[in-house]
């Protein structure tokens, strides 16, 4: 980034906050699972992910593992008898899409809840 970029009119580029990130779109529902991965070390038991998807009305193979293997893939620990897991490989890609969908929804911040959220939930 050069000096002129640093002094760019930031008000103009503020609208880019909700611009679509690059890379494959995981969809909003899968972005919720990615948010979970970002808070849990990026590796989850395969069985956990299956339960998670089932609870959300999704299917792990059809909805999540169809994404490019460079982003998220099935994996296993320690050889053929190891634990089957799902491994989020593209952390920044996931972060960008999680932020994008949170921004679009506007009511669901992935880090800190806004006060109005808890207010609505208590109604």
């Amino acid at each position: 980034m050069n000096g002129s970029d640093k002094n760019a009119d930031l008000a103009t580029v503020e609208s880019n906050l909700i611009a679509r990130p690059s890379g494959p779109d995981p969809t909003e529902k899968v972005a919720d699972l990615l948010a979970d991965f970002l808070k849990t070390g990026g590796v989850r038991d395969l069985s956990y992910c299956e339960k998670w998807c089932e609870r959300e009305g999704m299917n792990l193979s059809n909805d999540v593992l169809v994404l490019p293997q460079t982003t998220i893939c099935k994996s296993r620990t320690g050889g053929k008898k190891g634990t089957k897991v799902v491994w989020l490989k593209a952390i920044t890609w996931a972060e960008n899409w999680v932020r994008y969908y949170d921004t679009v929804r506007g009511h669901h911040k992935h880090m800190v809840p806004r006060k109005e959220i808890s207010g609505n939930r208590n109604k």
């Binding site: 849990t40 070390g41 590796v43 339960k51 994996s75 296993r76 190891g82 920044t92 880090m111």
Partner: protein
Amino acid sequence: MDEEIVELPKELTRFVRNPYGGLFGNSVRARVVQEIVANPYRIHHPKELEGMTDSSPPSVRGALNTLIKLGLVIKDSSDKQRPTYEVNLESKKLTALTLLSYAILDDREGTDLMNNAVLEHCVTQLGDSLVNLAVGRFIAFDIRNASGSTRIVAIQSASTNKGVQLSRGASA
């Protein structure tokens, strides 16, 4: 098919079934904490938590009771047969634990999740205070090129609208 499954790098295996990479051990309480912090907007049912954390009903119940006492979880007993549990969204411990979750991934991957979350926190939670205290405000935007996108965070001057870059996120 099994043959197509890639092997997880050894350095990542300690993150499997091990909350916060083992920072607090692998107790049922740590597993429950990780689960609810990762999904703070969900209404949690004990049965689901048992399955998600691979723990017994009494141990999950015990962990939840402790977390209620610590102010991280709120119990809803409107259905006495099937109580549910929600994260106390007002608890600052939730914020701190969320940042910790990101920090653990950042330390391993060299990413910038925690810093981005801190900056977002400043903008969304402390915005008004910051504007009153400083001469500008935090602002973040994404710059994209063929190789991916980069998050830039800056302070924008309240009087001149000029910006000063503070940090640069990792490229996608």
